[in-house]
Amino acid sequence: MSDPVTKIATVTPTGTAITQFNSIPGTYDDLMIIGSSKNAYTGAPSFNICSLYLRVNSDTNTNYSWNRWGGAQGGGEVTGSIAQNAILLAASSTSESSDAGFGHFYIYIPGYKVASVYKQMQLVGGFTSSAGAAQMGWTGHAQWSRNDAITDIEIRGSNTTADRYYVTGTTMTLYGISNS
């Protein structure tokens, strides 16, 4: 019996807003990514500033859809979008103060190498301000509407300016899951 959970790679990006897991082996059944993220922006967090974008196999076409439900700043929130060019993850904190913590996310991708179906994903994430005033916690679902096996995954900030760069302590780990 193979190990049920295998760490494929860990990245600790700084000085960039983009990280990519490329040439993912097709030797597992499912994939899982667990991450903590903070960007260099020194103001309070907001959805726009704290969003991360996930893409698969360098696909920039409108093949992604996602839904998210949870809480945002004390109120309920249900939202989603179809025919997008990326999956949005509200999952990165800002560097608004020295004690600001890290945003976080969990992504589970069943059947990532099955070449005959669209790829679905379970998503969980959140972020908060140091004062707790601006915050979001959510769970969600997404789909990449392509049949190809997933070999590359990109997770990036909302733009390329230096204030969206990941800062020290940001960590993303890709795991392979074996079901037999």
Binding site: I8, A9, V11, P13, G15, T16, A17, I18, T19, Q20, F21, N22, S23, I24, P25, F47, N48, S51, Y53, T60, T79, S81, N85, A86, L88, E154, R156, S158, N159, T160, L174
Partner: protein, 74 residues
């Protein structure tokens, strides 16, 4: 020049690669589109809030109590 951090999962080798001009342009376009989408969502949310408040005020004018209005529309 902005970079991306790339890990080759087959070898474990990690490198920082400069973005191409096309990648930067695409990323900036994404951001503009997202901001426009958020602005549109905010307009819809604001109208819904205004309509809800106006509807509750109208019910009040008709003589319903606050508790009755809350029971009807939350």
């Amino acid at each position: 020049m902005p970079t991306k951090h790339v890990v080759d999962c087959s070898t474990g080798i990690q490198t920082d690669v400069e973005l191409t001009a096309e990648e930067i342009t695409a990323m900036e376009a994404d951001q503009v589109a997202r901001e426009a989408e958020q602005a549109a969502e905010a307009v819809v949310a604001a109208k819904a809030a205004t309509d809800a408040a106006a509807g509750k005020a109208k019910l009040k004018e008709l003589g319903l109590s606050d508790d009755q209005i809350a029971a009807l529309v939350g």
